[in-house]
Amino acid sequence: MKSLENHQLQTASGDIQAREFRTSWFRKLTKIREFTILLVIVVLVVVMAIMTPSFLSVDNIVTTILSIVMTAIVSVGMTVALVSGGFDLSVGSVMSMAGVVTGSLALNGMNIWLAAIFGLVASVCSGIVTGLFIGKVKINPFIMTLGMQGVIQGVAYVVTQGAPLSVTGVSNSFLFLGQGNILGIPVLIWILAVIVVVSDIILRRAVSARKVYYIGSNESAAFLSGIRVSRVKVWIYIFTALLAGISGILTLSRFSVAAPTAGQGMELQAIAACIIGGASLSGGEGTVLGALLGSVLVGIVNDALVLLNVSVYWQSLVTGFVLIAAVTLDVLAHRKKAS
């Protein structure tokens, strides 16, 4: 391309600016997908604030955010898998396995931080296996991660023989992660914030992360463009597993308990959060912000169910209904925009 630069192309810099201007306007438009969900959230908050005064109390807000920290962290990882056109059903079991491995090493006398690193390493290993089978052997992600769900869950069961591990007497610095406060806000929320912001920047701007979008949008074109698709896929599932592992260790730190059943059903919650936030199962689409908003929406609905004292027998009905309503609204809003 350098050799072409000699050509005097009449490039008025004003023209580029005009285009940049159009660009920022356009970017706003594309963001509207997330805006609809934001709108739904705002409406829900207003309705709830009117119906129950305690809803907008600082305590309740903190509580609600705290309740979605794990889902949101896992959803960030899931977003990447979804963007690539795959997904990961094993996140829930990786979560429990990471906690269980960390916990049982700590109970056997290992320093808890070292144990946590082993927990993360175990998560990453499971991510590598998943990624290699999906990326290199080209096993369908659904069946591979469903299989891994069984295998990893199995590891957690074998390690604990089914019993939750009570991890007591570990260093306070570790417990601070899940139980401490900084500036009056739980550390867990700070951690979530950091993960979201960093991942959002990476996924939006890092060259390496953009490859995931290319793969999800058109895998064979990505391959033809020289992207090492299978290698990127391995990284994707490592990332997903790593975040699941982090969330498992944070769960351990929060509850001082590592249960082999922790994280059950997390996979569906996380996928739901991502899709509510605009990700697509067919790949190429999805943002960290969307995943966060999706998690928040689900969190608010769950909170509202309790605050409004909805009977447990009605809760799943109401949740399902709100889910459908929110996404329908989103789809209809976009359809109008399109026409």
Binding site: L66, S67, S256
Partner: protein, 314 residues
Amino acid sequence: STGTSTASSGSSGAFHGSANETYYMVTFLSGIEYWKGVYAGMQAAAKDLGVKTVFTGAPQYDINQEVTTMQQVIAKKPAGIMVTSINAQALTPVINQAIAAGIPVISFDSDAPQSERYAYLGTSNVEAGQKAADYLGQQLNGKGEVAVISTPGELNLDQRVQGFRQEMSQKYPGIKIVAVQNGNSDQIKTAQVTSALLQSYPGLGGIFATEADEGTGAATAVKEANKTGSVKIVSFDTDKATLDAIKSGEITATVAQGTWNMGFWGLMDLFTIHHNLLTPVANWKQSGVDPVPPQVDTGVTIVTSKNVNAYLSK
């Protein structure tokens, strides 16, 4: 370790089985901690008797899976089966099928009363719920608001809730059950629900969690709200995490069931029937007399900071 165990040592004489004699324990949700207490008792008895035991079951809360597992176990023609029924009605035919095939069956923890099983060993879950209500009622001096966290749709848990409600309304009219919430047998979900409950009911005095993970989840949420101690938590079962939480004061008490006894005496029943060691009447089989006590209450203990050490050292 595996679910199979054999014992070589053991007494001789009538109470000594053969090494290829295998007794099965079949459960639903087979991965959970709770059954381990039962199986420990069963293994202890097996060791004394010199027989083999196998613990198997349905990993999920799924009727079809447990019935299938029972059928598969029956096909292996074992010396006896201990079974806890996910659903009494659904398990009855397959229990009867085992009896018809000459395999003695003992029911534990969750009964199938219409079936031809020889005996049921366990505490009624209703009664366990009542005991929890008694304890919490006393702790709260008969007044205040309490909440229940359970997993709806699971029969044994539902029965605990039922017992709790009954006892509270009869004995402690001053205590109001303000909510029954779904903790989904999961710490994270329970923590979320509990936090929200603490928001809605700032004066909440007690929580009854019908399941161990729900107990620790509720304890964490209460701690996060800085209300440890002022909200009394009664949990269920005696896994290490629950016991530790009792020791540290985060959980006030837990309901311990006589799981070890269910396993031990259950196998004893099976063994004696299998070896035809019992003669309450002559020809009990033909005359339709039950050779073993048909209903055995294995009891309920409330574990608190006072007696928790006994369980911790177990």
